[in-house]
Amino acid sequence: MADETRKPILDRMAALVAGPLLLGREAMNLVFRPDPEASPGAPPAPLRITVTPPEHAIKRRG
């Protein structure tokens, strides 16, 4: 019962408020998805750099 009484009421309230808000935001983002083609002037997003292991190298340990 001790756990029952210590139910985190504030967390739940925060979640109740924040959940719909965030869901709403997500929904709006789905509807008004920014079109990647829309702004040709914007610089392209930087490509991720590919990390490859070295060739022919012998590792000490690991």
Binding site: A15, G19, L23, R60
Partner: protein, 999 residues
């Protein structure tokens, strides 16, 4: 027992039914209907209603409904969380065999800076090199390396790196780039016109062989190896004294008496020398043997701060003083080498040199004999070098190895090349890893000369001043992506890549190999094959190439005979030294601690590492002696104009205690005009470099005047005296013998509180101030290990630097020649930590193993802990220093250490990630943790082994034994905070009573 039943009760015929069975009202059907939503949906334990004796309402109580709704909402919120700029996490579709996520791989490799080679062990995580330490297999460096080398891992991830070849400012493909280069070289060969190749020092045998092959294929090739920071005077003097280019290797383990003529061998650059120094300074008792360091120098160097006897001597008088010493020794019966003529030198102590000090220096050298060594600073005039060579030859010093080596071009040869370029003689010029457009003193003349060369190719990593003068830019690999080898005393060292190339770059050697093939020579594909072929020929029997790669080296003594000293060279040098006198002020141009010759200027870790002497970051102010500052009315931070030979520069000044009167010191490697980090930091000192190689770095005739105005100095320490507080204890050998702890014996502190208990381990650290030289390698090691952010000069000026470990440097005594002490200061992990009880949210607390730990997630940033820290080692993220970082910079992060956002306090964690790593491995092996198995980054980075970390609960551990040592004390012990770090008092071994306080 109550049973849960549908609302309408069991006896009525349902008005609505779900299944036919329910309508028929068989008991089975009713049970099934009842049970339908049971699992999970309806609490199985006693519900609120049950407990409170309320009649059952429905299957799901209101509370549970709300609980579920909130859980769903919270889950939705979690799912909906999307942070800007974060992509999708995709696991390896094809995992490379080498890479195990979460497990570090270590590769043996190596790099070099000028002629000095650093064998290394590279730590990689998920394929990314993140941390460098010395190669522990190497007999010389024994797992140690220099601060600049450790920071060089950041250069791999420099966003300014050129990522593909360029011609006339446009990105082109490699085939195009190569065909342009090859056409130029073939054209030159056909026309018989010379081709200029300028590179850095050739410390690699395979690179040397490759250059020889290229020279054979292209006979008109003129190769210059140029190192602007190496000191032309040393090169000139070596040629004069030994008839060939030499490399001097101090062997301080054999030295009882060391005389430094402005040589800065304890600045972290030379891990071998520093290790030997540390070994002779970590004394257990006053009866242990200790060496003695004499320093005669103009500017105050880090070595000078560690001296037992230091005499400020202007560089122009250094040669005469050293020759006078030789004459005095000869008079005392030490044999001069054949043909030596010292008649130009007046007998006796040089003017201004205290007689008692002089005679004890002479006595020290004579007594030590073969165990004495004289080392001369690369920037000192050639005469001083020649005098040092003479002294070593006279004493028959075993503490220095003289090795024949590859020649380096001096500024004079560069000037000749510039003249030849200006005449239009060269068909092509290749600049490989050098930046003469910046380092050549006459930049305008150089630019005009280079413009006369029809084809100009640049091989390098970050487009620099020289790249701006070239048409063809060939991006080179970082050394961590490349193959190579080096010859070092004691071992042949291999350099292997620790990562595949990040960009469309190639090793410089591959470019030369391509040229070789284009010129018609048969050569292997790629430098790896070339190198492997050479190694397989020369490997000793029984050693495989794979084993050599695994170890990073093959142990082998070099068998070249030591060059012989030529006594005949002395007369001219002695005459010159005797005649040398300074007009105006003397200006010493030394390589910057952070930037070296400018090649590290784009490295923000190094830019923010405080200079060990001035504690300046992000700048190179001119250091003025106390006397000159007084005479000229200069205060710290005043802007001054420095002029010499028609070159005038406006820059801030700092007043440097201990610097000889009439001497100015200025660091090279600043004032770059390219590079995102380097651009505009400090002033360019290369225009002051002399064109006479014998005194290129030690100029005379400088003028200094106040320019009006001030600059806020980005300095990490602004108060330099200890105010008589018992913070750094420093003992002379006499004091150590009589009173090993110094004069401070506080009473045993009593406490009303229960002592902290540590059930398994109690981590602690001992720092030996006698071994610590102040080189700041620990600062860089910590920065790399713990993702310590860089904040920039403005923030440093406001006191917001983030280093978890700093070196406190204090002056004591007369400002003209003070005693200097260094004290690494980091979180003391106090048992009664004052920071812990004041945190309102419990974000900092004590671990059962004695660690004062930070929960970054919990920290709200009240900064109360930092106020209450007597050591002021807590660092606050005043601004957002990390969130805006993108690849490639983020690739340098250690994934084991949280990256801290703004508003959060942080501090040294005793490298808790390393402790846990070892603990987990020991647990996996089912064994106890070995003493010395856990190394903190600072400890591993410390070349002089001044830092020892371990378990204080284990009475046999090294750290426990050192804590009980006679020199042990704790800083601010009287506060009762019970720090876990014990310091061992500094030791000085002066020859003369109060030897430090004379000018």
């Amino acid at each position: 027992m109550k049973t849960r039943l549908p609302d309408h009760g069991p006896l009525e015929t349902p008005r609505f039914w779900r299944t036919l069975e329910e309508r028929i009202e068989t008991p089975e059907a009713q049970q099934a209907a009842h049970d339908e939503f049971l699992p999970g949906a309806i609490p199985t334990g006693p519900s609120y209603d049950d407990v409170h004796g309320l009649p059952p309402q429905s299957g799901v109580s209101r509370r549970d409904f709300l609980g579920l709704v909130s859980a769903a909402a919270a889950l939705a919120a979690t799912v909906a969380c999307d942070r800007k700029g974060q992509g999708t996490v995709v696991p390896y579709t094809k995992r490379p065999v080498e890479v195990v996520p979460g497990v570090a791989n270590y590769y043996a490799s190596a790099t070099h800076e000028g002629r000095r080679v650093y064998p290394l062990l590279v730590k990689t995580r998920e394929g990314r090199p993140i941390h460098l330490t010395g190669n522990d297999e190497h007999p010389g460096v024994k797992g140690k390396t220099s601060p600049r080398t450790m920071a060089d891992v950041l250069r791999l991830y420099d966003p300014d790196r050129l990522r593909a070849p360029k011609a006339e400012g446009r990105i082109i493909g490699w085939s195009d780039a190569e065909s342009r280069l090859h056409a130029a070289l073939a054209g030159a060969k056909a026309a018989g016109k010379p081709v200029l190749l300028i590179s850095g020092a050739v410390a690699s045998p395979s690179r040397k062989a490759l250059l020889a092959d290229l020279k054979a294929a292209l006979p008109t090739l003129e190769h210059l190896a140029y190192e602007p920071a190496a000191g032309d005077a040393a090169e000139v003097a070596g040629l004069a004294s030994y008839g060939q280019p030499v490399d001097l290797q101090p062997r301080l383990d054999k030295a009882k008496v060391i005389l430094s003529l402005g040589a800065d061998f304890l600045n972290g650059e030379d891990p071998e020398a520093q290790a030997a120094w540390g070994a002779q300074r970590r004394l257990k008792s006053a009866h242990d043997p200790i060496n003695r360091l004499w320093v005669l120098e103009g500017p105050l160097t880090l070595t000078g701060t560690n001296a037992d006897q230091r005499v400020p001597v202007a560089p122009s008088r250094l040669g005469a003083a050293a020759f006078a010493l030789a004459k005095e020794l000869a008079a005392k019966g030490v044999a001069l080498p054949a043909g030596t003529d010292l008649s130009g030198i007046p007998a006796g102590a040089p003017a201004g040199f205290p007689a008692a000090t002089w005679s004890s220096l002479v006595k020290d050298l004579r007594t030590a004999g073969r165990n004495a060594v004289v080392l001369c600073g690369a920037q000192m005039p050639a005469e001083a070098h020649q005098a040092a060579h003479l002294l070593n030859a006279m004493l028959g010093s075993e503490a220095v190895g003289v090795r024949a080596t590859e020649p380096l071009a001096t500024v004079k040869e560069l000037e000749a090349a510039a003249q030849k370029m200006a005449s239009g003689a060269y068909a092509a010029a290749i600049f490989w890893d050098v930046n003469p457009a910046y380092t050549f003193p006459k930049a305008a003349a150089w630019k005009a000369a280079v413009a006369k060369v029809p084809v100009r190719a640049w091989i390098g990593q970050v487009e620099d001043e020289t790249a701006a003068q070239c048409q063809l830019l060939l991006p080179e690999n970082h050394w961590l992506e490349s193959w190579g080898d080096y010859a070092t005393p004691g071992a042949a060292v291999l350099q292997q890549p620790a990562i595949g190339t990040l960009y469309d770059t190639r090793p410089g050697e591959d470019i030369l190999l391509g040229a070789l093939k284009a010129l018609g020579t048969n050569a292997p594909d790629g430098y790896h094959a070339y190198l492997q072929a050479r190694w397989k020929k020369e490997l000793p029997f029984g050693t495989s190439f794979e084993q050599a790669l695994h170890d990073g080296l093959v142990k082998a003594e070099a068998k070249t005979p030591a060059p012989a000293f030529k006594g005949a060279s002395v007369a001219a040098a002695a005459k010159k030294a005797a005649a040398s006198k300074a007009e105006g002020l003397e200006l010493v141009l030394f390589p910057g601690f952070a930037t070296h010759d400018g090649r590290h200027a784009n490295n923000s870790w190094l830019q923010e590492t405080p200079d060990p002497i001035t504690k300046m970051t992000w700048d190179n102010p001119v250091a003025v002696s106390v006397q000159d500052a007084k005479a000229l009315g200069i205060e710290e931070g005043d802007l001054v104009t420095l002029s010499l030979d028609g070159v005038t520069v406006k820059l801030p000044a700092v007043i440097q205690p201990g610097q000889a009167q009439g001497v100015l010191a200025l660091a090279l490697g600043y004032g770059r005009t390219t590079g995102g980090v380097a651009k505009g930091v400090g002033v360019d000192a290369f225009p002051f470099l002399g064109l006479d190689p014998a005194s290129a770095n030690a100029r005379t005739g400088a003028r200094l005047a106040k320019a009006g105005g001030r600059k806020e100095l980005s300095r990490t320490q602004s108060h330099h005296r200890m105010e008589g507080r018992d913070l750094v204890r420093s003992l002379t050998m006499d004091e150590f013998a009589h009173n090993p702890q110094g004069h401070h014996h506080g009473p045993e502190l009593v406490t009303l509180y229960e002592e902290q208990r540590f059930p398994d381990h109690k981590w602690g650290m001992v720092i030996d101030l006698a071994a610590c030289t102040g080189c700041s390698a620990c600062v860089v090691a910590c920065q790399s290990e713990n993702n310590v952010p860089v904040v920039g000069p403005e923030q440093v000026a406001r006191g917001r630097e983030m280093h978890w470990i700093r070196i406190d440097r204090y002056y004591e005594g007369e400002l003209e020649n003070p005693k200097v002490v260094h004290q690494p200061m980091l979180c003391q992990h106090c048992d009664n930590a004052p920071c812990e009880n004041v945190c309102p949210v419990n974000a900092t607390n004590h671990s059962p193993e004695g660690l004062n730990q930070m929960a970054y997630n919990r920290c709200v940033g009240t900064r109360y802990c930092a106020n209450n820290c007597p050591y002021k080692v807590r660092r606050f993220n005043f601004l957002e220093y990390t969130a805006y970082k993108t690849e490639p910079e983020t690739l340098a992060y250690n994934p084991e250490v949280t990256v801290r956002p703004r508003g959060v306090m942080e501090k040294c964690s005793f490298c808790v990630q390393r402790i846990n790593d070892v603990k987990i491995r020991a647990k996996g092996d089912g064994r106890a943790i070995l003493d010395g198995e856990i190394t903190t980054a600072c400890m591993a980075g410390c070349s002089s082994d001044a830092i020892v970390f371990g378990d204080l609960k284990d009475p046999k551990s090294k750290v426990s034994q050192l804590v009980a040592a006679s020199r042990a004390y704790r800083v601010l012990e009287e506060l009762g905070v019970k720090p876990a770090i014990t310091y061992l008092a500094d030791l000085k071994n002066p020859a003369v009573e109060g030897g430090h306080h004379e000018a």
